[in-house]
Amino acid sequence: MAGIFDFGPAIVLLPFLSFLIAVGTALSGRDLLPKGGAIPGIAATAGSLVLSVAMAAAVAGGEVYDETIYTWAVGAVPGSDGLELTFGLLIDPLSSMMLVIVTLVALLVHVFSLGYMNDDGETGLPRYYAGLGLFTASMLGFVVADNLLMAFMFFELVGLCSYLLIGFHFREPGPPSAAKKAFLVTRFGDYFFLIGVVAVFATFGTAQFVGTEAAPGFPVLAEQALAGEFTANTFLGLGTEAWFTVVGLLVLGGVIGKSAQFPLHTWLPDAMEGPTPVSALIHAATMVAAGVYLVARMYGFYAVSPTALGVIALVGGFTALFAGTMGVVKRELKQVLAYSTISQYGYMMLALGAGGYVAATFHLLTHAFFKALLFLGAGSVILAMHHNENMWDMGGLKDKMPVTYYSFLAGSLALAGIFPFAGFWSKDEILFETLIHGLDGQPLLLVGYVFGLLAVPVTAFYTFRMVFLTFHGDARTEQAESPESVRWNVKGPLVVLGTLATVAGAVNLAPVRVLTGAHVDFLHAWLDGGFSDLTVHHYAEIDPYSSAYIGGELTTVLLGAAVSLGLALLGLGLAYRLYAVPEPVEHTDKLGSAKDLLYDNYYQDEYQVYLANRVVLPVARAADTFDQGVVDGAVNAVSSVSLFSGSRIRRIQTGVVSNYAALVTLGLTALLVVFGVLGGWLL
């Protein structure tokens, strides 16, 4: 039966095809395609979007899909069928939602690139579009992966694409370095992820997320193992639950790397060296989102491990605040956005750790729209400013580029969590979930909640500092006086995303449901469908949390919303006071010694560079010296000693025949004595 799901692979393959076309064009070295190869990319992502929407519709109709489509390899295990390593498609509410997000953002980024790259006369466009195509394809492959190994493989390919795209301007010194850093830091995280994948296979014999009734996926097996219905292999003498925690944390390593969580967040701000549309793609829908998506994808596995959940929550909460504070002092537009990304993904992690599966997914959705919007808006500004990103060189752009301004404003309001923009709803739900679960005897979550809450005003402050510096006040440079105009291909995506950033919150108005009892939390319902083991209520059953309220659910909802909104407005107001003036000045000196700390990103880069340059490299050099001196020295010494003894031995041959006679006699005598003694006839 040729259902819509049979076209599933096409979602991944279409962008891949556009990648191949672009590579072919790049190899030919000639201008074979109009627009530097953008058209195939746009067509492909549009096609994927259409298919994704169609699938979402099918999923909405209650259908789900989980099929193995390709057996990659089978490992021999004596006495069994062996360990199957496969590729498969898993289309369920979560993945179909993510598909729509990714394809939509990718399409918009492709379109935007027409304005940002093509119109700007960049060279190497086929290479750029090849990168975008592969990036999209990899991310889509990751999203639809039906097992952890396949997920890992596309996860890594996403990393490759980020390397290629961040380092797009390879002739300059910055981008290649940033690209290297991005790949290397995320690779460090992926190292743990890979161990995790291996461990999952070793533990359960499968890495399917869902599986079948007869052979369930590993989250279900983990559940069964803890219930004593299944014997999982554990290693290193650990108990079942402890081992699951270890495995979960290992996989989490990859998540922390890709989603730029503390302490592996350092690559992300540097990654701003890439073209701005790429940043949009990376931050909104692909690479960084991949980490969080992965946790959501295998949430059932984390849900059975309280320790892992606690770690996730704490890391997320801390990162949300930590990254936010760094965003406060940044001068470049994209830098601020970069730290906001880290911070926002921190929120999602917090939500996941706190049992807020829906909240995290919700924020993933809204964030995808408003962050893509902000980046594309920033791209529009940067384009207008001839690639000057310093906000202190801007100002007053509000009137000159109204479309950009208003859409950017919408995105900023969403980011700051101002009612009723999308970000408000999702962020509020995260804090709410954290609070109610924390109140029920989970001090760790309360700590996370405090972090998250503190990050709210910080977010609002840096967001609107950015808005005010960029768009308000007077133009501070000539470029800002007369910015370059941008065309439809820039404005179009901004408008689409601006609308979404404004209204996307409507998909899950959980507070409204609490208030009115109306079932307006559509996303909750959406995620509660599909495979029974992957539903929201199933997760709620197996996770270690239950809820407690301050005075009752309604009170808590209102209180939480009010507090977070109030804090957001506080931050906004502060920003307004400081920066919404015609001639804003840097107020960073007021921070005192904290200023340097924030400028230098808490010396996170420094210590990591120190580790690389002052620890690892010297160790490597020492190893090299050791290798040359001792190991190879031993080899050469053997040879020298042999040759030296050779040159000594030949001296026996004196050239005087009388000596020879004497030596012959001596030799014979020695033999006589020795063998006489041995033979027993002498002495």
Partner: protein, 510 residues
């Protein structure tokens, strides 16, 4: 008879090319080298053997003729392939052809001798991978050294003579040590020939008798140690690896390709065939397994650290070969289907990828006449396609999914993690896996400094784009790498089939 034809044709081709005039030697050698490629692919297409050749599996394209009798033992012309050897045969033929093409630009003296020796080496390599009689195998095994000595010594870099003799003597000592160990085993078995299957099966039937006061178990241990030491040099593993960087740095590009691509695999192939297939009961002793696993991990990490400290691109790749071979050792000692299968697969995968890396570095060297990281930058600007392929190859080396290296390394990791043979297998596995981070580190740093940034070059050579025939082999290797990464079953299925009996003896897990 096809194996005889393959080896015979290659020998003949070597002879013809030796006698050909220098101007045509390269092209003639390439044309002739396509014959074995076609032959090996034909063998692959018609391959229908099952099981392990040494363990009573059916052997494909088998020929068995008596050659001579020595000390009451029959020595035979006994060749054939199974799922372990066939991929390596294909690798040898394909890589030889490509290496010959890659030599067209850099080799500009005594060409007919060069290409003749390359083909001569190929013929012997084919012999190594197909021989199933110990002495026959040993003849080919040692005979590979001779052309290699000349190829490094005549056409190499400034310290070529030192490197050549070091390679020559070091690996020769290793062979001798191994020989003594193996012979001590054979003479205490009730076998009538040096046929490897017969010896293996007799050993596994527990027919070993004691020798000079050593009981069979001790004798096995001693023989295992001697053979391991001997093969370890060839692989090479730390600490007997130091000949390799010297040989690689001095060898001309095509020779490095063959050295890293195929010659190193002789060592791991032999380890698998001899140590791990014949003496599983020794290898699986906890202490032995621990030591070998430790050697593997040290090779991986230490080799990678050494690569990190290098400035010469070729040295970087050379040390990273040490690192990659460490994975193979880990996979072998795991004694699991994926472990040993992955190790075998890694032999092929690393052959392709390291060949690709050496070739790409060679193409850049042809143009810039330097390989030092500090001497150049921004090569991507001048040689976009070469650099593009080099970057792809480097990512392959780092174990990028859907390229052969990832498949191999993943199989190994998966296999080693659950190994019941290595004590604390997850710790060893996790430790060795850290190699994938370091490899990314040194390759990314080196690429950043040489390929990207503003173009500059310390030497004053004119930088031209590479010839088509320089780049074409790179592209072919890259495509092979991707093909194997996407569809490992091109080889992995037959490998699995052949190693399953080995694993079954131990009864290991996944």
């Amino acid at each position: 008879m096809i194996i005889e034809a393959l080896i015979g044709i290659t020998f003949l081709a070597a002879l013809v090319v030796m006698l050909a005039p220098d101007e045509y030697a390269g092209k003639l050698a390439f044309a002739l080298s396509l014959l074995p490629v076609v032959g090996s692919l034909y063998m692959w297409a018609g391959f229908d053997a099952g099981g392990n050749a040494l363990m009573a599996g059916s052997i494909a394209y088998q020929t068995q003729l008596d050659w001579l009798t020595v000390a009451g033992y029959d020595l035979q012309w006994f060749v054939g392939v199974d799922g372990i050897s066939l991929p390596l045969v294909v690798l040898s033929t394909v890589l030889s052809s490509l290496a010959i093409v890659s030599a067209w630009t850099p080799i500009d003296t005594r060409q007919s001798q060069f290409y003749g020796l390359m083909l001569f080496m190929e013929a012997n390599l084919l012999g190594v991978f197909t021989a199933l009689d110990f002495f026959l195998w040993f003849v080919f095994w040692e005979a590979v050294l001779v052309p290699m000595y000349f190829l490094i010594g005549v056409w190499g870099g400034p310290r070529r003579k030192y490197a050549a003799i070091k390679f020559f003597v070091y690996t020769n000592i290793a062979s001798l040590v191994m020989f003594i160990g193996f012979m001590a085993l054979v003479f205490n078995l009730p076998v009538g020939s040096f046929g490897l299957p017969e010896i293996t099966q007799s050993l596994q039937a527990g027919e070993l008798s004691s020798f000079v006061g050593l009981d069979p178990a001790t004798l096995k241990l001693a023989a295992f140690a001697a053979m391991f030491a001997g093969f370890a040099v060839k692989v090479p593993v730390v600490p007997v690896h130091t000949w390799l960087p010297d040989a690689h740095v001095e060898a001309p590009t095509p020779v490095s390709v063959m050295l890293a691509g195929v010659l190193l695999k002789m060592g791991t192939y032999a380890l698998l065939r001899f140590n791990f297939t014949m003496l599983p009961d020794v290898a699986t002793r906890p202490l032995v397994a621990t030591v070998i696993a430790a050697i593997a991990v040290i090779s991986v990490i230490y080799g990678a650290m050494l690569a990190l400290a290098q400035q010469d691109l070729k040295r970087i790749v050379a040390y990273s070969s040490v690192s990659s071979m460490g994975y193979v050792i880990l996979g072998l000692i795991a004694y699991t289907g994926l472990g040993i299968g992955g190790a075998t697969f890694q032999m092929v995968a690393h052959g392709l990828i390291s060949g690709l890396m050496f070739m790409a570095v060679g193409v850049i060297y042809n143009v810039t006449h330097t390989r030092m990281v500090g001497d150049m930058s921004g090569m991507a600007d001048r040689m976009p396609i070469t650099v593009g392929i080099l970057v792809a190859g480097a990512f392959g080396y780092m174990g990028l999914p859907l390229m052969a290296g990832f498949a191999a390394e993943y199989f190994i990791f998966q296999g080693a993690f659950a190994s019941t043979v290595i004590p604390s297998a997850p710790l060893f596995t996790a430790a060795s896996m850290f190699g994938i981070v370091i490899v990314a580190g040194y390759l990314l740093f080196a690429m950043q400094r040489t390929l990207f940034g503003e173009f500059s070059l310390e030497t004053d050579y004119e930088v031209r784009r590479a010839h088509f025939h320089d780049v074409a082999p790179l592209a072919v290797l890259l495509l092979c790498t991707i093909a194997l990464g996407v569809a490992p079953n091109i080889f992995f299925e037959m490998i699995t089939d052949a190693i399953e009996p080995v694993v079954a003896v131990v009864g290991g897990g996944a």
